[in-house]
């Protein structure tokens, strides 16, 4: 049993190492100055870059966090702390689980029918919303689980000091859980940062540099998808480099949270 566990872990680590290593080897040569500053050139011309997609990804991720994090955290607090609403909580929890299990394309379709059609254009806004919707159930359920790990004895001690319930939640339980909640956020972020699927019906893609939230916008996953599908060697190099940058964007927040949110390590 122990051997099996070690074996499974070892294989997982090896696969991770291989994938990241391979992407690094393939991607590093493409990381030039122009990769970060340039935009796509016409087919056949060498050079060009992914500045538009990097900026686009940042905007989309930013919008998604703006929607997904507050909404998710508040829902998580509702689920964990509002005991009087247990019935509704059960329903919300079930919905969240179903949502997080659904393919992310459903979020795209939902935003397509509700936002894209009424705005009559694909847009960064729609893309960010779609990604945000994917984030909500992930952040909510993780927040709930982490809040539940805060020992009941700690809440009791705070309540026994004559602190009102919400003070205890906001000033004692949340800070205690901050690290775990933060780590959950970054995991949700990494999940959506690399997902092109919700973007097909929402942000679509854009060949040019654009920061306009009401216009279609490029993103790393969409560009990687487009470049790898094309039969040009230069584009493949760009795609590999893009994948490497995407990995960096996804995992930097995780590292930062782990380093800078020292907080209380809840024993899991």
């Amino acid at each position: 049993m122990v051997t099996l566990c070690i074996l499974a872990t070892g294989i997982l680590l090896a696969v991770l190492g291989l994938v990241v290593g391979y992407i690094a080897i393939q991607g590093l040569p493409g990381l030039s100055w122009s990769f970060f500053t340039g935009t796509p050139r016409p087919i056949g011309e060498a050079g060009g870059g992914m500045a538009h997609a990097i900026a686009g990804s940042f905007i989309l991720i930013g919008l998604a966090c703006l929607v997904g994090i507050p909404w998710g955290v508040l829902t998580g607090i509702f689920l964990a702390e509002m005991k009087r609403w247990r019935r509704l909580g059960t329903l919300v929890r079930f919905t969240a689980d179903v949502l997080s299990g659904m393919p992310s394309i459903t979020a795209g379709i939902f935003i397509y029918t509700s936002v894209v059609i009424s705005m009559q254009t694909f847009s960064a806004l729609a893309g960010g919303l779609a990604l945000g919707i994917v984030m909500i159930p992930l952040v909510a359920r993780n927040t709930e689980e982490i809040l539940r790990l805060v020992p009941a004895s700690m809440r009791e001690a705070a309540l026994a000091l004559g602190l009102p319930y919400w003070r205890v939640v906001v000033s004692i339980v949340l800070p205690t859980a901050a690290r775990g909640i933060g780590i959950g956020m970054t995991m949700a972020l990494a999940g959506i940062a690399g997902d092109p699927v919700p973007l097909f019906f929402t942000a679509l893609n854009n060949n040019y540099w654009s920061l306009d939230l009401r216009q279609p916008i490029a993103s790393l996953p969409m560009e990687i998808f487009r470049y790898t599908a094309a039969p040009f060697a230069e584009w493949h190099t760009l795609a590999w480099a893009g994948a490497l940058v995407l990995i960096a964007i996804s995992f930097t927040p995780m590292l930062l949270v782990r380093i800078f949110l020292p907080g209380y390590r809840i024993r899991r």
Binding site: E156, L159, L161, L163, A178
Partner: protein
């Protein structure tokens, strides 16, 4: 004599009747020990005295608890207010791990609803509370660091300081020494003797020697009923009820 009067107290967890018809007076400025076998309802009794009992879903209380002329279960009485007047110390020293020592002691004041404490006032109270529990000398150089590295006994005294900082009238102590080594336990006992000059102290303990050493009065509870109550020597030397005698001498509850 100010203190807490308990009249016809009943307490339930859901359908289970845990405390039956408890009538009892906890005199002010004295230590009353509550003893009895595990699960007899000692903690429940304590939690009824600061309205913590009702926090458990389905928990219910009937009867009267009078704290210095306030019927704490009277309609309209704010339980949060009562918990500020009746402090509680638990078995495990449960400090707030994200906070510094200073914040831990001041938290009850700093986060209190209405009056915002000015920093100077807060500091005075924190220092005073730490001095009261004899921890000031030990932690004064590290007030603004977290409490990691303090011993269990020091942590428990920190928890007592945290409770005292709110200036309660009553101190409920639920087996405060059970998780401590004997030397640390003796320090807490000394502390209780000092504190009884200004507080009403109710001590739940499994340690008969401890009850005999520190308590002025002793109440014996068995299966949710108050079996015996009197001055400590009375209860220990001349128990009126056979069940008390059996429990104290360790020949069955």
């Amino acid at each position: 004599m100010a203190g807490i009067q308990v009249e016809a107290l009943h307490a339930w967890y859901g359908r289970d009747l845990i405390l039956k018809q408890v009538d009892l007076v906890f005199p002010g400025k004295a230590i009353t020990a509550v003893i009895g076998p595990s699960g007899c309802g000692k903690s429940t009794l304590l939690r009824c005295l600061n309205r913590m009992h009702e926090l458990v879903p389905g928990a219910r209380v009937a009867g009267r608890v009078v704290l210095n002329e306030t019927d704490i279960y009277h309609y309209g009485v704010n339980p949060v207010e009562i918990r500020r007047r009746v402090g509680m110390v638990f078995q495990n020293p449960n400090i707030f791990p994200t906070m510094t020592i200073f914040q831990n002691v001041g938290v009850g004041l700093a986060l209190a609803g209405r009056q915002r404490y000015r920093h100077r006032q807060l500091e005075t109270r924190v220092v005073k509370s730490l001095q009261q529990v004899g921890l000031w000398e030990e932690v004064k150089d590290r007030l603004h660091r977290t409490a990691t590295g303090l011993s269990a006994g020091q942590l428990q005294r920190l928890c007592i300081a945290r409770t005292l900082a709110v200036e309660p009238e009553v101190l409920l102590m639920d087996e405060p020494c059970s998780a401590l080594d004997p030397i640390a336990a003796i320090r807490i006992e000394e502390l209780m003797r000092e504190l009884k000059a200004s507080y009403t102290i109710i001590l739940v303990t499994h340690n008969m020697q401890q009850a005999a050493r520190v308590a002025d009065f002793t109440a014996f509870i068995s299966r949710g009923e108050l079996i015996e109550y009197g001055s400590t020597p009375e209860v220990f030397l001349r128990p009126r009820d056979l069940r008390t005698e059996r429990y104290i001498t360790g020949t069955g509850g």
